[in-house]
Amino acid sequence: MTSEYTEFTTGEPLADHKAPAGPVGERWDTRRFEARLVNPANRRRHTVIVVGTGLAGGSAGATLAEQGYHVVQFCYQDSPRRAHSIAAQGGINAAKNYRNDGDSVHRLFYDTVKGGDFRARESNVHRLAQISVEIIDQCVAQGVPFAREYGGLLDTRSFGGVQVSRTFYARGQTGQQLLLGAYQALSRQIAAGNVEMHARTEMLDLIVVDGRARGIVARDLITGEISSHFADAVVLASGGYGNVFYLSTNAMNSNATAVWRAHRRGAHFANPCFTQIHPTCIPRTGDHQSKLTLMSESLRNDGRIWVPKAKGDTRPANEIPEDERDYYLERIYPSFGNLVPRDIASRAAKNVCDEGRGVGPGGQGVYLDFADAVRRMGRKAVEEKYGNLFDMYARITAEDPYTVPMRIYPAVHYTMGGLWVDYDLQTTVPGLFAIGEANFSDHGANRLGASALMQGLADGYFVLPATINDYLARNPGQDRVDAQHPVVQEVLAETEDRLNLLLSVGGDRTPDSFHRELGELMWEFCGMARSGSGLRKALERIPQIREEFWRRIKVPGTGEEFNQSLEKANRIVDYLELAELMCLDALHRAESCGGHFREESQTPDGEAARDDDNFAYAAAWAFTGTGEAPILHKEDLVFEYVHPTQRSYA
């Protein structure tokens, strides 16, 4: 099977030249030794811009400032503490092997490469597994209140796709606690004058001078003022692009503008079609739905997933006898049961709903049942473990999950794709780095639970602060750039023109109406299951929506004030281009892998069928113009340690 789509050109292959050769376990040490250092006394002369203050950005900003660099940092939220990492519930993985259950750095490495369906780079993933143990030490030192056992030592639990218990957690709000750790470290550096923090300020474009990233254009969301900021290197930690689907578990304002604008300025975008649909979210209730809420994957440790055996069974859950229930994950995957990886659990839920066995309004839901857990552990123990999640569920649905099974359905949650980066986390634009969910590097085609927090903090605390030195040391005296520079003038003018155009159309449709239309299209054709014909339909429709957008958009108010409609509309401009690339990438990858399921490529029993002969590469796309055929650069993936096999969780 080869690629079917012809509307792109294939460019030179891409390679990661930064990962050293040699045994995988020694590569990070080797790279750190080979990387040049910047003399501590010279560091304060270097300015680094960091965009975003989530786990990756917050930890990077704090650490770079501790090292002596002058950091200028941005977030669109009113406080750096509110970045969306805060909403992560379940936990963070680390190969500590405190349980003595057979865990090791190598096993975490193996699980992550396999879980990602063999579409991630081995060097990066191994480094991530190595660093995982240092992250826990760092966070504990900062006062992160992880769950503990009665002996005072750290507790762990298990998560999907693995058979060891390596996930550290802080009840159902691990993300908030880790983020507060990073935010507090960042706050210390702000107070010390080492970080210049710009909250409520959104990056709208990247400034590239002489082929190097030298700054950004940003808008003050309160005054509307558009300004330029300059640096010796720019770090994007702006998160993922799941909101292209309109409904997702992302925060309402999470957006793709920073990465997309960087892509337009020359940074390749890798594997855009690799999106993660999380299996355990609260089903939607109607057209008013503005976002979806995740129920932590940790619930699958004790909850059992089932649907009625019969189609169209509308009896309440408690009236369906045991022998008329289908615990389908336990049936199909006996060894992993309810703890199969997310992509597999999501697809299985879709399949049973497509068969007409879904539950709840519209049949778009499956049960996650805690009756057995309450019987086995007692209600008190269940409360202790999951109390805040149950409360949240009850508040949203007005149902009591202690007595009535939860209803869940998959929803867009995370994007594995992102800006292409090398082993140093540098994009194809020299001086531009991407960390955390904004890059594509570590999760392949499917991310395992509790690995996003691990990657964000690994990148921000440990990887970037080591690798950015090398870039700055090799480029010590870059020419000064200021607002008068012709390139800067041009980027500023383009940004202002775009916003003015949005304000001047004066059409008859709101920004949300376009966002919702695009999201529904993407969910239908580029969601849990994708087909060549569906993707072609989407690719035909997106340019039409884009054209209509610029004809009919209505943005009230002016650009010189706090204007949330203008913020939204400007983000949709970028979604309307990114969506097209996602569909194109999904169409060209005529195999199934991880979260990318092509209906044409499945095994006889309906599992994702990879095609390693033709698609064992990362697809890095170069931008050529809005609606223009992009250029595909392939980075071949070499597996020396974890040999690709058909994933089996049965």
Binding site: V140, Q184, S187, R188, Q564
Partner: protein, 249 residues
């Protein structure tokens, strides 16, 4: 349901504000309060009016961005964040007042949006453990008794929304500040900076123009995360202890 909304409208920080009245129809009980406001805003945009500005982001009750005073209560009638308040808490035909946080230290930015950067500055004054990256000992080197870890967690649940300040008749920030002081001061990792932390954070809190505490207790009633009132007595104890211990302050 059909509702009458009376919403605080204020064009900018230095402009005068006033309550404006709007009717919304077709509201379902399953909508969140913010989705109800989304519905109003969609209508306002189409009729050429300026939509109502309000802060929101995660809509899962954890980021702390949403901040509305609803019928006089911070975050409204249920003990939760505004984004987790659903319209089933209201009845058809209700009139609902929607206002921003009201406090001297939280100036209005626009409509229902306020400036809470004072909270960030309180954290910057000492709400951290000095633990530079890379300097950490092995995580199990210092066991933390489970009751201490649980107590720290209980205080660390604060999401920094500011409902405590909005609810307080004095506009005090004692519950917010005490939550962070207690979170870090009960942990062994926070012990070395125990005294300077509480003294510096309280000093910054006073400097920001927050009011004094009279233990009215409204803060703990409004807190969506259930930070208890004893948090404040805990901080007062820490402050007294630190004042005695640190000479010359």
């Amino acid at each position: 349901m059909k509702l009458t909304l009376r919403v605080w409208r204020q064009r900018a920080a230095d402009a005068d504000g006033a309550m404006s009245t709007y009717e919304v129809d077709g509201i379902s009980a399953d909508m969140s309060f913010l989705e109800m406001l989304d519905t109003l805003n969609e209508e306002l945009i189409l009729t050429g009016e300026d939509p109502v500005a309000f802060d929101h982001d995660c809509r899962e009750g954890i980021c702390g961005a949403c901040s509305l005073v609803i019928n006089g209560d911070a975050h409204g009638p249920e003990r939760t964040t505004t984004c987790q308040l659903h319209m089933r808490s209201f009845a058809d035909g209700d009139t609902i007042d929607v206002e921003p946080w009201r406090a001297a230290a939280f100036p209005v930015v626009k409509d229902l949006v306020v400036d809470r950067s004072a909270f960030d500055r309180i954290i910057q004054a000492g709400g951290y453990v000095t633990a530079p990256t890379g300097a950490a000992p092995e995580a199990h080197a210092t066991p933390v008794p489970k009751p201490d870890a649980d107590l720290a967690f209980e205080h660390a649940e604060c999401i920094g929304c500011g409902a405590c300040v909005a609810a307080c008749p004095n506009g005090a920030a004692m519950l917010f500040t005490s939550a962070k002081v207690n979170h870090l001061n009960v942990l062994p990792q926070g012990a070395p900076e125990r005294e300077t932390r509480v003294l510096d954070m309280v000093a910054q809190m006073d400097e920001e123009g927050f009011g004094g505490c009279t233990l009215a207790g409204e803060c703990a009633t409004a807190c969506p995360k259930g930070i208890p009132l004893v948090s404040i007595t805990g901080m007062n104890k820490e402050w007294l202890r630190a004042t005695r211990k640190v000479s010359g302050r």
